[in-house]
């Protein structure tokens, strides 16, 4: 996978926008989630991640990538987040402290985790509408199945069926990722 990124970056250096979009599509969401983890604010996380991509594209011919493209992106977003925290509030200073104390391997794991979470999110988006809606009400909004049933005017049984349908689809489509996911989660 990394090999491919490196080849992709070769094309980006030559100004290939398709290749750049491909890099963006692969890493934008995980990087936003990673930045969100540091900043606790998705708006800033998105802005900062976009800034990083713009900067990278503009300096594409001079950038030296020593490790991997992914690590480079990850480090750039991390530094940008820390700078942002420093520049905003004094109260945020402790967050910077905490964030910069993370070891490199912790950090690697958190990026891996963000990537996997982004993949799961992608699959959730693809669920059938009704099924996705109910699943998200439970998982993202933390609502009780009873409350969901009352709001939608359906039985609890139906709510449970829809949620279990969502889980089954995710399990089926993400099965190949499970070993990686288990590894990252237990390591965290």
């Amino acid at each position: 996978m990394q090999k491919t990124d490196e080849l992709l970056f070769k094309s980006i250096r030559e100004g290939d926008l398709d290749a750049f979009q491909s890099l963006f599509d692969t890493y934008y969401l995980p990087l936003c989630m990673y930045a969100f983890g540091l900043l606790k604010d998705m708006e800033s996380a998105r802005d900062i991640t976009q800034d990083v991509f713009v900067t990278i594209y503009e300096s594409r011919s001079s950038i030296e990538i020593k490790s991997s493209v992914k690590a480079y992106l990850h480090r750039s977003v991390r530094n940008a987040c820390l700078n942002h925290l420093k520049s905003t509030k004094v109260q945020a200073w402790h967050q910077v402290q905490i964030a910069s104390q993370h070891s490199a391997s912790d950090d690697h794991d958190s990026m891996e985790r963000a990537e996997l979470e982004a993949r799961i999110l992608g699959e959730i988006q693809k669920l059938p509408a009704q099924c996705r809606n109910i699943f998200q009400m439970n998982r993202l909004e933390g609502r009780k199945n009873r409350e969901i049933a009352a709001e939608l005017g359906i039985s609890i049984r139906t709510v449970e069926t829809q949620i279990s349908k969502a889980l089954k689809i995710l399990r089926k489509n993400l099965g190949h990722l499970m070993p990686a996911l288990l590894l990252v989660t237990t390591a965290a």
Partner: protein, 340 residues
Amino acid sequence: MSDSSSQPVDTELLVRYFSEETTTRENNVIEQWLNANDQNKKEFNALKLLWEVSSKAKGASSVDVKNDWQKVKNRIGTAPEMRSMPPNTTGKGSVFSRLIKVAAVVTLIVAAYLTWPVLSDFTSTEMITITALTDTSTVILSDGSKIVLNKNSRLIYPEQFDGTTRTVTLKGEAFFDVVGDPSRPFLITSGQATTEVVGTSFSVNAGIKNKVLVTVVTGKVLLYSEGNQEKKLSLVPGEQGLLKNGLQLSKTVNEDINFLSWKTGTLIFQNTSIDEVIRDLNKYYNKSLKISSSALKSCTLTATFKQQSFEDVLTELQLVLPIQVQNNERNIILTGVGCK
């Protein structure tokens, strides 16, 4: 109930359990099932993990990758993408011929239920598998050839090409931009179909049951089945080759100007019948749009949609055609009295 080890997992019960809404009796059932064997435990852990991780995606659901890409693209303010289709102006033919000039593209749509061929040809070099799930993905091969994979597609290729051919395996749909090398033909295997190119660009889709469809824009492509390599269908720009059930080869003229829309993000309709419009929209947006009555079949559409959201497209449809959109649980229905 006595032998819980042989029972399949009751996901609904597990959902109640994860939601902390089970009774003590139900907890016991789960515990029994869980302790029955390791396979059950594995299954339980996998589902629990999905359950937990899916609640963490909270902030991310507000991230619109497509929209944010547009923002980034505007900021870097470069020239338009080389391969994006020009906005439509005149007739079908001119869009098509311009596309040929701009792109030098051969599209190859391969559709088949595929069993993975044994890749014994290139054991000496490491095989790489790329799977594009929710979005397209670009891959550059060691010879410099560029491949754009459509969603839900997979490509297997060697890290290095050695030997007398360059062979890759595709499941799903992809666009190939092959670097010319007459001494090493480029072969794409998809199920029983083999597509051979000497050097050009093209796109492959292996998604429809028992069908392999090859559409050529420029260059020359040979299509043949694994079972009969003597009979090769030669395809030139504008032509489309079809391999059915791994045996029947046939050739037609490509009339679908939207065959690359998954890659360009552009859908072009020119006096196009509503049936075809719906077919293309459903394919591009992965929806199931339907018309309520045959009266609507009298409607045609002329419009270009460039990287627009499905909702925008529906709004636009309602503005330009005398139709209304109705959402029900499963389908989106277009209603109206027709255009006559």
